[in-house]
């Protein structure tokens, strides 16, 4: 009998095109997602070498990183941004790649629209020139970010040179407590694993807690695998996955036959991983990052660490440096930290479920006078659905800006940025120095926690929230 295999083993084995002696294996890529920032140099190199896109019909593009989130009928003010988006259009036209352009009903953040359109499917290999490609692993795909040279390689060959990564089971037993979300869970896991604990691994999230999560929550978890250093995170497909995919635009026509194949993907009983960590969901409380990497995180009922109390000199220096940048004194209670801005959006937390959670918190409340708050839906579809449900009115009545879809202030490539010194409660994925704007200070939280901070003007424990 064949030895038991993990989900990763099965997808990997299926996709090895060849392993020539003295070379790294060539892995077949089923889906290639493309955006405006990391693709122009790849298309240009292809053009210079006289090469074609091998499978344009397996390649999908959308502008998301560098697009304004204001009225789409207005021209893009920044000429350099406009050129980058025009370049994507021209490249897609020239090479026959399907583009979900600005103004298209299906435009959005690439990691939101892939699953939403059913482009992302279980068992697939999926790449994109973006580190948050791990998001798609939530549907049981092997999905990871690549550099622009690799984008070019995939465009030209539909394959990638890869050594097989190691496997890492992150098992979460039990259920999350009320008020604790998938965002809190993944921030908490990153805090345990560190920013590089997952390097060289593909994380497979397993256990009762993960199985109990809906697709949107699973995407939030897989999305942030890279913040623990892992290129990919994945969750075995199950009925939640199949129910999510059924009927989506690009889902297989013979859906039941596809499901029959997908049901064989989950790791076999007795399959072994290179590393295993077992956590209990009951230990997780709402999380808030205090520093300049996502592993610098603590429960909302906790306080900012005191660098002086740390024994390791390297760690002491890291914490001091982070606190200095963040403008925080060691020992400050998280609940005492005021915020100037609130950003609800990004590929981590901009799906309809995220907006519903945030809207239910702000319903009947006003954004604090000292706070500027904005909601940026992950896709044009999410925006339309939210408007159908009246969520836009809830947000706007409370004083939030309601924007068009894009990456927006997650990375601040477009005009949505923090000013120096501004402090932001953000549902995004990175709190690096200057990530949301030079000198800006980012605290990563769940959508509900961000919404509550907008109302109160400082962090509060969402478990105590009085819903109206």
């Amino acid at each position: 009998m064949a030895s038991p295999r993990t989900l990763l083993d099965k997808i990997w084995d299926e996709h090895v095109v060849c392993s020539p002696a003295g070379e790294l294996p060539l892995i077949y890529i089923d889906r290639h997602l493309v955006h405006e920032v990391t693709s122009p140099q790849a298309f240009e190199a292809l053009r210079l070498a006289g090469r074609q896109v091998r499978r344009p019909e397996a390649t999908f593009a959308t502008p998301d990183h560098n697009v304004p989130t204001t009225d789409r009928r207005l021209p893009i003010a920044d000429p350099v941004s406009k050129q980058q988006i025009d370049t994507l259009r021209a490249n897609c036209r020239e090479f026959g790649v399907r583009l979900f352009d600005l103004g298209d009903a299906d435009q959005g953040i690439v990691h939101i629209i892939g699953p939403e359109l059913g482009i992302t499917q279980p068992g697939m290999t999926i790449v994109c020139g973006d580190s948050h490609t791990a998001t798609h692993g939530a549907l049981g795909a092997l999905a990871f970010g690549i550099g622009t040279s690799e984008v070019e390689h995939v465009l030209a060959t539909q394959t990638l040179r890869q050594a097989k990564p190691k496997s890492f089971e992150v098992r979460v037993n039990g259920r999350l407590s009320p008020g604790v979300t998938a965002k809190d869970l993944v921030l908490w896991i990153i805090g345990k694993l560190s920013t590089e604990g997952g390097a060289g691994f593909v994380l497979e999230y397993t256990g009762e807690c993960i199985r109990s999560l809906g697709m949107s929550e699973r995407m939030t978890v897989c999305n942030m695998s890279i913040e623990a250093g892992a290129r990919a995170g994945m969750i075995a497909p199950d009925s939640t996955t199949f129910d999510y995919l059924r009927g989506r635009d690009f889902a297989p026509r013979d859906f039941d036959r596809a499901v029959a194949a997908w049901e064989r993907l989950p790791s076999d009983p007795g399959a072994t991983y290179d590393r295993v960590e077992i956590f209990s969901a009951a230990d997780v409380v709402p999380q808030v990052t205090w520093g300049t990497n996502p592993a610098q995180v603590v429960g909302v009922d906790g306080s900012v660490p005191d660098a002086g109390s740390l024994a390791d000199p390297g760690e002491r220096a890291n914490v001091s440096r982070a606190l200095e940048y963040m403008g925080l004194a060691g020992g400050t209670l998280i609940a005492d930290i005021p915020v100037d801005r609130v950003f609800i959006g990004s590929c981590t937390n901009s799906r309809i479920e995220d907006l519903r959670a945030a809207a239910s918190v702000v319903q009947g409340y006003q954004v604090a006078p000292s706070v500027r708050a904005m909601v940026v839906p992950g896709s044009s579809r999410v925006k339309r659905q939210a408007e159908k449900e009246g969520l836009d009115l809830v947000f706007q009545a409370a004083g939030f800006d309601w924007r068009e879809a894009g990456c927006s202030m997650c990375l601040g490539m477009n005009p949505d940025t923090l000013a120096p010194g501004e402090r932001c409660a953000s549902t995004s994925n990175r709190n690096f120095e200057g990530r949301q704007g030079k000198g800006g200070r980012t605290h990563l939280v769940s959508p509900a926690m961000a919404a509550a901070a907008a109302v109160r003007g400082h962090f509060v424990d969402i478990r105590d929230w009085e819903y109206r």
């Binding site: 003295g22 090469r51 690549i146 060959t157 635009d249 990497n293 490539m413 690096f432 200057g434």
Partner: protein
């Protein structure tokens, strides 16, 4: 790609862990559609004051780091965004090698695509290089290292010598300056055979 066999140069030290690609090349410079010209923006927010003048306390602005071609840093260098603009900026600035105890996976791969060697040494060895560079710096002198990819060795001229590991295929591509895509296209028959055997995934819409 420019081959890399052996390279001797001045070492610039960056005594920080978790240097992310947002620091290496901030997002405001990602709007360009070219591959070149990013060196002027390398570590921009650390390197320059708000008025555009060089930050006198930043490591790369120290006199002994002038003309540096080898960068030394702490663990998890290059974490975060997949942006290849990070290695483009380092290479354009003049770096040919980065030495650290560990690298983020995507950045690590991206280095090889750009003729730059990411050298993994132990925390202890990296610490020793930091000490040697600091000692030279205290005398107002630059510290030099040689990265020898043929022998897979890093050495200075005062007795420090450590071997490092590189994946053999990546090493060969660097040593010979091979075109990765050209090599893969040599396997077009195998790719076509895979596609035929698997049936192309249904693409509707």
């Amino acid at each position: 790609m420019e081959p890399f066999t052996t390279h001797a140069g001045i070492v610039a030290v960056l005594d920080r862990a978790n240097v992310d690609t947002d620091q290496i090349i901030p997002k405001q410079f990602l709007k360009r559609i070219e591959r070149t010209g990013f060196g002027q923006f390398l570590f921009f927010d650390w390197r320059f004051m708000p008025d555009g003048s060089p930050n006198p306390t930043f490591e790369l602005n120290q006199p002994e780091a002038a003309g540096a071609t080898i960068l030394l840093a702490r663990r998890n260098f290059g974490c975060g965004s997949s942006r290849e603009h990070a290695p483009w900026a380092l290479v354009d600035y003049g770096f040919r090698a980065v030495i650290a105890p560990s690298f983020a996976d995507i950045f690590f791969n991206n280095c090889f695509q750009n003729g730059m060697v990411p050298v993994r040494l132990s925390e202890e060895d990296v610490g020793e290089i930091f000490r040697r560079a600091a000692a030279a710096g205290a005398l107002g002198k630059p510290y030099r290292l040689e990265v020898d990819l043929e022998a897979c060795v890093v050495r200075d001229d005062a007795g420090f010598e450590r071997s490092f590991e590189v994946e053999p295929f990546r090493r060969r591509c660097l040593l010979e300056g091979l075109d990765d895509i050209g090599l893969s296209l040599a396997h077009t028959d195998a790719i076509a055979a895979w596609e035929a055997a698997h049936g192309l995934p249904t693409v509707a819409g």
